[in-house]
């Protein structure tokens, strides 16, 4: 089985060379083949080929193959960068390093290393080392304080997925096909036609299909199986909810407040202060408001509107909404702050020209203000996503602790529940790797879309 994977790599390596180079030599084909095999072999040999041992499932093999493909791909990319350099081609990385080719001080080589060493030591010791250990842990069955641990290979990952390997291959392929199909249609349609509108709708659904495919790939649980599908769904719902609420609300308030008005800066101060509030305090404040016994919300609904609101922790919709509301409220200040800054850059001339053209205020907003804000929107999207992935932990811990029946247990909350509260480090680490992959996906998307804009939020 393993040999089959290596053979495929040996064939695909030269294909990659053919695709990337204008006039590849035989030598380059040879190198491509060898590099692909080495890259593909790296993970199985590092892990002792455990995924192909007896008793492993099709899903295990599949995971092993995808890792091999990833390794081969990475090795080929590095090889290609070296080829390009020897060809004198400007690659992406050359552009990046060009940007850092500054200098001035002519002192010993060790001086810059001295200056960088504290940063490097801490980054390596407290970020790179634990990152590697997270991967190692994720292949083990181990508990805090246990005298021994058992290697389970991909077991911790396999149990998060559905058991049918064919479906696991088919779903992502279908989603990718949908995305490329929509992109193709988009390329073939003329601006402003119905055809174009159809293509735009289709590409939106195609993007959604990626999320649907992932939903279908995660294990639904039952019969003692791990249920990761609900965790994924909770994470998507709560993340989308927080980001949408926080950003739309932030933009709306900022649009209201950016005009020059008497006492403007005072108003702004009163709008943005929740930025300083912690997720934990946000959880505490909304815990009070929604408390079924003593909270003002239930009481008001009952006394003023005569509505008997059920305990928010007993209804999935209410519990998720309350988390979204608390977190969205907390991040609102941050979004208002940046949108206010962004709105200052919208050209007044353009708006005035639009007013003369007789555009309604809504049209002005959609046609002029929104596009002008798109860099800020994008920046906020990424920071809000990070917030919704991680910082929401404290809010959940104060408000629902995952209730009802795990419906507000998002990925990070589940990692702590499994890894720390149950002491199941291996499974927790495996789920951490998934979250890691999600973060990498967001960051790569960010780098690609925004041209290497550096994010300023978080650490």
């Amino acid at each position: 089985m393993l040999i089959l994977g290596l053979v495929v790599a040996a064939v695909l390596g030269p294909l990659y060379v053919w695709w990337q180079n204008d006039n590849p030599t035989v030598k380059r084909y040879g190198i491509g083949s060898a590099v692909a095999v080495i890259g593909a072999a790296a993970t199985p040999f590092a892990m002792g080929r455990c995924a192909f041992n007896e008793g492993t499932s099709g899903v295990d093999h599949l995971l092993a193959y995808s890792l091999m493909a990833g390794g081969a791909w990475l090795a080929l990319m590095i090889m290609q960068a070296l080829f390009d350099r020897s060809d004198g081609k400007k690659s992406d990385s050359a552009a990046m390093t060009g940007e850092i080719r500054t200098g001035g001080f002519r002192l010993g080589w060790w001086v810059p290393w001295m200056l960088l060493s504290p940063t490097l030591i801490i980054l390596i010791w407290f970020l790179y080392l634990p990152a590697v250990q997270t991967f190692t842990l994720s292949t083990k069955l181990t508990k805090l304080g246990a005298p021994k641990s058992v290697d389970v290979c991909f077991g911790n990952f396999t149990e998060l997925l559905i058991t049918d390997p064919w479906k696991l291959v088919a779903y992502p392929l279908l989603a990718i096909a949908a995305v490329y199909g929509a992109r193709f249609w988009l390329g073939r349609s003329e601006r402003g036609t119905w055809n174009r509108k159809g293509a735009e709708v289709a590409s939106m659904f195609a993007m959604l299909s990626i999320f649907v495919a992932m939903y279908a790939m995660f294990s639904p649980g039952g019969g003692g199986q791990v249920a990761y599908r609900p965790v994924y769904l909770n994470t998507v719902i709560i993340t989308v909810g927080i980001v949408a609420f926080g950003m739309i609300g932030g933009l709306a308030v900022a649009y209201l407040a950016f005009r020059k008005i008497r006492g403007g800066s005072l108003y702004r101060t009163f709008l943005i202060w929740p930025y300083a509030i912690s997720p934990a305090v946000a959880g505490v404040l909304f815990f009070m408001i929604f408390d079924p016994t003593a909270g003002i919300f239930t009481h008001t609904m009952d006394v003023v509107f005569g509505i008997d609101v059920p305990n928010y922790r007993e209804s999935a919709v209410l519990a998720q909404s309350s988390i979204i509301l608390a977190s969205g409220w907390k991040i609102l200040g941050y979004n208002i702050l940046f949108y206010l800054a962004g709105l200052q850059t919208v050209s007044t001339d353009q708006i005035e020209a639009a007013v003369i053209d007789g555009a309604s205020s809504w049209q002005r907003f959609v046609k002029i203000v929104l596009p002008a804000l798109s860099p800020i929107t994008f920046f906020l999207l990424v920071t809000n996503l990070t917030y919704a992935f991680f910082e929401v932990y404290a809010t959940i811990d104060f408000m629902t602790k995952g209730a009802p029946a795990g419906k507000t247990s998002v990925a990070i909350y589940e990692i702590i529940r499994i890894g720390v509260n149950n002491g199941d480090l291996g499974r927790g680490a495996a789920q951490s790797v998934l979250l890691f992959a999600a973060v990498i996906a967001v960051t790569v998307w960010q780098f690609q879309t925004s041209g290497k804009r550096v994010s300023y939020g978080g650490s």
Binding site: T97, G104, L123, F126, I261, S278, I415
Partner: protein
Amino acid sequence: MAEGLTPGVKRRTWIRGRQWPYHISLIVTAIVIAFPLLYAALIATQTNTEIFAFQMTPGSALQSNFDAVWFGRDFAGAMWNSTVQTILVTTGKTILALLAGLAFVYFKFPGKWIVFFLVLITLMMPTEVMILAMFRLVSGLGWQDTMAAIVVPFLASATGAFLFRQHFANLPAELLEAAQIDGASPVQFLTRVLIPLSWNVIAALFVIQFVYTWNMFLWPSLIIRDESKQVVQVALQTLTNIDGALTYGPLMLAAIIASIPPAIVFLLMQKPFMSGFAIGQQK
């Protein structure tokens, strides 16, 4: 606050026509946003009995709630721990980021691009995704229940390093030439020339890091178990139960107290914060 951010764009004109609809809508919005805190402030003065009766006027228990929180549960100690942690992290991070920015912009050295990528890649490595391994690592060092555990891992920051790199790179090149003619060492150059020109960026980083560190919850909740070493955000959690049952007043009061330092820092430093960001975003 945000005026003067973008000198190139025409200044905002005063609103034409009547202003009062804007005033009213802004006041309403501000009240809605402030509501959770106002409500908490009300609850903070009340006893459980008053809360259960939905009394809408300040209660009788502010003093006793304060005593229960501040002295009874040593919330003061937690505030102190958080203050020390935040000051150490913020200061250390700024210094390390300044040094890294200096090295990136004003030095040429072999292997620079490797270091650059090493730092760059950490932007997509949030602590949270490796928190279990980090927990094992840091407790393996015997650092559980120590200040080191909640300070040292957070001293280095790619964000800070890149913020200063970008800022330094945009400064005029003549600065360095002049400094070299004077025979200044890199550290002298940093302290005498660069830092005085970077206060806005430093302030922006200071605010972000202050709020970020002060509001840290997950990591301290794992690595700090000893209640006397705990930071405020986590200490709040034990306050849900003051004396045998859920007591809302002290909890709300503590939540408000815990929010005061970052709120003060943020509000006082709004202006440099925003202009620091404007510098960061020019390019």
